[in-house]
Amino acid sequence: MSDETVTTTRMNMIQAINSAMDVMMERDSNVVVMGEDVGYFGGVFRATAGLQAKYGKTRAFDTPITEIGIIGVAIGMGAYGLRPVPEIQFADYIYPALDQLVSEAARLRYRSAADFIAPITVRSPYGGGIFGGQTHSQSPEGIFTHVSGIKTVIPSTPYDAKGLLIAAIEDNDPVLFLEPKRIYNGPFHGHYDRPAKTWADHPGAEVPGGYYRVELGKAATVRPGEAVTILCYGTMVHVVATTVEELGIDAEIIDLRTLVPLDIEAIEASVRKTGRCLIVHEATRTSGFGAELSALVQERCFYHLEAPIERVTGFDTPYPHSLEWAYFPGPVRIGEALKKILKD
């Protein structure tokens, strides 16, 4: 680690993400940020606040409201030699841009034999727990993990968010950087009826001021344990950690951080040790990324498994508004699943 990373500050996740872009825009004049409301106003979640004032309108700018255009234009800018960091205001609004992401960004290197590349980092807040209803709550990561040629990254702490975002921006492949908006302001314990926590006393909120990287493709062991492996990411890391603590279970909690490419070694090593595995995500269940994790663990650790791998996920319905907390895979559902896994 270089000198500039020595001083750390306490940041929430928004500040850490903002700092990542600030650091990269400072270091590399090819880095530009763009998206609906990201310029003057600094983003509806304030993630790009101050960047236009600091780097000018041609490096941090508002865009028309067309996600096709935001991604399509970013790809063109990337082909020119820039490193665009487009924001999609909510992950629920990424679908109009899907063709540009899937057919273009993800395949440009391959189809042109690296004649052209798409070094873009698409940032987007995702996930529920904020009473956002069907169109401000979705977790579409599973779809992108099915697409060859795109990396999918999801941080769970301010420290990781900054380091991963810097690594993503420096990456020469397209990266989808999904930000768990429920934990922008604090790690969520999963209890909707208890006071929210801030990042004030979380170790993951100590963030170096300057440049540092958290490498893509490496999971983090949030808590070592022997009884069961829990695979999770984003908001659910904190919900899982709370649940495990409350139930006093000696679980090994693995925060995947990058879904593609996945840290398969960390997963295998853990499941071989514990012999049990729970997968937790907020996205709808069927064909969610949990299915892939389950298949992989089963394929690679079959003879070590002592109980069926379980999945705790969002239900296969649109994200409901008023029943949000019945939908959300919270401590009760996770606890029930853990009990089942540990039963015998």
Partner: protein, 421 residues
């Protein structure tokens, strides 16, 4: 054969910037406002190519003295004018109350239409009751004009036991088929091609009903807008495509949707579609333009795009604080005035209204809203227990509940039990 490159000046990128930011004094005196009555009114049988100029002016009926003038004057009778006025006033009262309800923590979200009431109310009056509307989230005035119960709107906003949408949708995302009001989507502009499809179906069936749709000027940038315009022009769909140009899209001014280069009504010209640019704060102009467009649609002349030139007088939603990005003085400096005020002045000028009746009407509207609110709150407010039954979450994903949703439903019920709920 390359073009000469020597001595080329470097390119530069133009990034639009609104004229006023926080701290600036808003001054719209150079906004081009053609006099009321100055725009011509072509016959509805004329082809769109014959009146492209209407995309670059403003259809206006009410002049500064409160008189209705010119060829677009719809000559509504005073009762109709008073109904229009009351619907607008009721919409504003409803907005005020529900905004406050959100601030009081009774629900998660609300969006006002303050200053834009004419766009929905006057249009709704010009349409037939069974014409199908495909609105965005800022046309609550349609429902109110058509007499949809305020209590039902509030039940939806509260996501309570009485919510006709069973608590599934974000507040204000109404759906009311019986009132010709299509289910509102959170995704911008998706309703545009849907409206065109509905209109095409009506035409294919030899029906007489037409469709109308609305989106904001910011939303015109979406691909859905373009696909709708293309389908509409190709099949001459009987549809009215409204663009509500209220100058702002959250924090982005209309320049980011292309307003620096031309009008939004001009989009119509690009497709060979009839285009009108209308003073959106002039209820009579909105009414007349809508009626004209409806007549074109009903006589198989095809689609009309209407740009309603108006102003978003308040924040984008309860999540927004507009003073962070625009001059606080803008709403008052806006040159086209307030639609309610303008219709009121007109009625007074006609001798059909006065300040006292107006004050009484305002009070009546406030009371009506309050009564409805009381009624609605009996069914519960968001997050206070009086929601739809838990198991309803799994209903309506499909017509029949498949096995995997049944299993998940059971799991959820077990879980609620385990949690002691």
């Amino acid at each position: 054969m390359d073009a000469p490159r020597a001595n080329l000046r470097p390119l530069s990128l133009h990034v639009p910037e609104p004229r006023f930011r926080p701290g600036d004094t808003a001054d719209f005196s150079d906004v081009d406002v053609p006099p009321a009555g100055s725009a011509r009114r072509p016959d509805t049988a004329e082809p769109a190519a014959a009146f492209r100029d209407l995309a670059y002016t403003l259809v206006r009926v009410l002049d500064d003295a409160g008189q209705a003038v010119g060829p677009w004057n719809p000559r509504l009778d005073p009762d109709a004018l008073r109904k229009m006025l009351r619907s607008m006033a009721l919409t504003r009262a409803f907005d005020e109350r529900m905004f406050r309800a959100q601030r009081q923590g009774k629900t998660s979200f609300y969006m006002k239409s303050t200053g834009e009431e004419a766009v929905s109310v006057a249009a709704a009056m010009a349409l037939a009751a069974d014409d199908m509307c495909f609105p965005s989230y800022r046309q609550q005035g349609i429902l109110i004009t058509r007499g949809y119960p305020l209590v039902q709107m509030m039940n939806q906003i509260y996501s309570n036991k009485g919510d006709p949408l069973q608590g599934r949708q974000l507040p204000i995302m109404y759906s009311a088929k019986a009132f010709g009001f299509f289910s509102i989507s959170g995704n911008l502009a998706t309703q545009y091609p849907q409206a065109v499809g509905w209109a095409m179906a009506s035409a294919a069936k030899g029906d007489t009903r037409i469709a109308a749709t609305w989106c904001g000027e910011g939303s015109t940038a979406e691909g859905d807008f373009h696909s709708a315009m293309t389908f509409a022009t190709v099949y001459k769909a009987p549809v009215i495509l409204n663009v509500v140009n209220n100058q702002w899209a959250i924090s982005s001014f209309s320049g980011f949707a292309g307003a620096e280069a031309t009008t939004f009504a001009a989009r119509a010209v690009g497709y060979g579609i009839a285009g009108l640019r209308v003073d959106g704060n002039d209820p009579l102009a909105v009414y007349a333009a809508t009626l004209w467009a409806a007549e074109r649609a009903r006589t198989n002349q095809g689609p009309t795009l209407i740009e309603h030139f108006t102003y978003r007088a308040e924040g984008h939603s309860t999540s927004d604080d507009p003073t962070a990005y625009r001059s606080a003085g803008e709403p008052n400096a806006w040159p086209l005035g307030d639609p309610i005020r303008r219709l009121k002045d007109h009625l007074i000028a006609l001798g059909e209204w006065d300040e006292e009746r107006h004050a009484a009407m305002d009070l009546e509207c406030a009371e009506e809203v309050k009564r409805a609110q009381k009624e609605a709150e009996k069914n519960g407010i968001l997050g206070h227990g009086l929601h739809q039954p838990f198991e309803s979450m799994f209903e309506g994903v499909f017509e029949q509940i498949p096995w995997h949703l049944k299993e998940q439903q059971q799991q959820m019920l077990d879980e609620q039990k385990a949690a002691g709920l």
